[in-house]
């Protein structure tokens, strides 16, 4: 800074210049920064809540899960099929085949149940596609538990 740019003594002949009042626009700017920051934060939190609620699946679309259920001799079984956490349920047919449609896209837990025994499998459902989970096979050993001893009297 050159000497010419410094204030002259003339400027202080009546003492120190009065303190300037705070700039009101600066305070308002700060408030707006906070408002913008909070808006962004609430947007992030609302997005997190939405994603965690499982409603993302509604946007992602639906797919179909297919498979077959057999016993240890390879005979088809009429088994119950559930998609955990949804009302979706069905039965395998006389050939042991099943197909569940309108399954929300994303990771889904499929439960295949026969008598009182269940098998679960996590399946990645892709919108608009049929996902084949393969054969589910129940063997005699699966039913060796206390709750299988009385058919029809299961919890």
């Amino acid at each position: 800074m050159s000497m010419e740019d410094y204030p002259s003594l003339e400027s202080y002949k009546d003492g120190m210049p009065p303190k300037l009042p705070p700039d009101p626009s600066r305070k308002r700017r700060q408030i707006w920064y906070v408002i913008i920051g909070l808006s962004l934060l609430s947007l992030v939190l609302i997005t997190v809540t939405f994603v965690r609620s499982g409603n993302m699946a509604l946007l992602a679309g639906t797919g179909t899960i297919a498979g077959a259920v057999y016993d240890e001799r390879g005979q088809p079984i009429v088994a119950e099929i559930y998609v955990f956490g949804t009302p979706l349920a069905g039965l395998s047919d006389q050939a042991g085949r099943f197909m569940l449609s309108d399954v929300p896209a994303g990771d889904q837990v499929v439960v295949v149940g026969y008598r009182n025994v269940g098998r679960e499998q996590t399946v990645k459902v892709v919108a608009g596609q049929v996902v084949e989970i393969g054969d589910v096979r129940f063997v005699a050993e699966d039913f060796e538990n206390a709750w299988s001893q009385m058919e029809g009297a299961l919890p």
Partner: protein
Amino acid sequence: MQRSMKKTEHGQGLVEYALLIALIAIVAAAALSATGNSVDDVFERIAGLFQDQESACTPVASAGTAWDPSPTNSFWKGGITQQADGYQVCPLCIGMLPGYTDSDYRLDLSGVQVTNTKTSWNGYGVAFRSEYGPKGLNGYMFEIERKNKNSDTELYFSKWVNGKQIKIPGALVSLPTGIDWNNPPDMSIAVEGDTFTAYLDGKQILQTSDSTYASGGVGVLANDGTQLNFSDFQAKPSTCEEVP
């Protein structure tokens, strides 16, 4: 003119403050919604630190207080029946404590007497985070089970979906030496978050984790070859620690 401008600026300031307060409220609500359960857990843990062990272990439900003899509260083949010196669960039965449901708790099944009515499928256990739906039980069980006199005694956690039992991988331990059926151990199960820990006579015996069910009721069960009598079944806060 200048006065009017000042008033307008003042009004604008109020709008900004109102906006600020509304946004703080939205952020607080969204944050609670996004992390609500975790916050709840943190509060419970902090509250637990200030509790002495005695009050931390005060039962929140027990067979003594929650048992209701009306048939509508007895599930499947009779459930729990009251006896002169405690309670009884018939073979292949489950009795739920009516009116109690929660996420985290410690279950104590004490004063157990086992009457093996058959030589096979002996055992007993507890149900937790369980509810009966139209298609059967949904929830978890911990069981002590012996297939027959020549087989090992197995202790395991299992999961039930619509009345179908699903094995939880790694949630089984075999006891080749078995247990003393004439003097069976007290059973205690700590249910906290995704982690379930089983204790027999105060000693940790098995631990597993599963996140399928977050909350539900509790009950006592007996296997097909066993009639179970017990003096009490209690649910205590999860902050209650096991004393070996």
